[in-house]
Symmetry: C2
């Protein structure tokens, strides 16, 4: 006995929201069509009606995840710093802070990562998101080098951006490695020392 009707867009949103809740709670291996349907309080058939296949639903979910996880927001908190080095460091610190919160999103990302080894579409989506992410660090890296060429000789903007992003991604692994979160402060302090700033910072 079918229930009320709803518009295409509404229902898709409703189902996607349910999928998000399920995924955040039970991870990807708990994300079954039936679970999503139950969470959205609709039938399993309806999920297939709006998302023809589970992969389609996964891709919609990943799109949402990527644009709120693998994005470096360049706001006034970053740009208000004077020197390029300080801006880059502020960006790094901001991203590390974002990692420490949002562990659940991080874990979900790694779930998708593993699926992506198999599914070309997902793999490509992730790869492009990570490329964009790294690209957003590049101008800052270039500015750092330009501002003090003799000290930062032998560096390239590409290399520095890749280094910073690698540190962030490595820290992502550290953050979700075990239940009790790790303290990234000593590491951040070390980076500051290497790149030239020395004032202590909160993490």
């Amino acid at each position: 006995m079918p229930g009320k009707k709803a518009s295409e867009a509404e229902r898709r949103e409703q189902i996607l929201r349910a999928a998000r809740r399920v995924a955040m709670r039970d991870r990807l291996d708990g994300l079954t069509i039936r679970n999503v349907a139950r969470e959205a309080e609709v039938s399993s058939g309806l999920v297939f009606f709006h998302y023809s296949t589970k992969d389609a639903l996964l891709e919609a979910l990943l799109e949402w995840l990527l644009e709120r996880t693998i994005v470096a927001e360049i706001g006034p908190d970053i740009l208000r710093h004077e020197t390029a080095v300080e801006q880059l460091l502020a960006l790094l610190e901001q991203e590390l802070q974002r990692l420490s919160m949002h562990r659940d999103q991080l874990e979900l990302f790694f779930d998708f990562w593993v699926i992506g080894r198999r599914d070309t579409t997902i793999r490509t989506m992730i790869s492009q998101a990570l490329d964009r992410y790294r690209a957003s660090f590049r101008p800052f890296a270039a500015a750092v080098i330009a501002q003090n060429p003799e000290r930062y000789a032998d560096m390239t903007a590409e290399g520095l951006a890749l280094l910073v992003v690698s540190v962030i991604q490595g820290c992502a692994i550290q953050v979700i490695k075990d239940p009790n979160p790790i303290d990234l402060k000593p590491m951040l302090q070390t980076v500051y020392a290497l790149l030239g700033r020395s004032d202590a910072v909160e993490v």
Copy 2:
């Protein structure tokens, strides 16, 4: 119609080897008891006879993987360097090189990583392996700081070791991000510039 008998240890080894081949070829989602049995040319029942459950087989497989993947070998190639900085950098370079080869083992590791979010035993095994890995960098980090305290003020051995390991793990993600391998050289060059060595190196 049962086949030949074999000793306990022999059969376990034979099955584990088969499991390794299957895992390296088809990833963890292709690692079914039936696949392992076929690869080992035994029956599926026999796999359960020697590994009472699939999890037990997975743990045996993970143990093998960890001790050949998440281990920093400190050989003469590292220790022959004069300064502590050079030793640490040589170690870093060696590990990055190891990443670039062994992509398959890396991907397998991430498969286990995701499973480990669910399975406490696997999670603990991975966590401990990573802790040991980081610990093996610690003495080198400490030596670096001790050798030039005024330059590396504000650093701690713990922080530097964590930084180096984070870089390696971040690069691991870069390495398997997309099919065609990335070039880590510019990044390594940047690290050399930051930590003080300037001669070019092969990767």
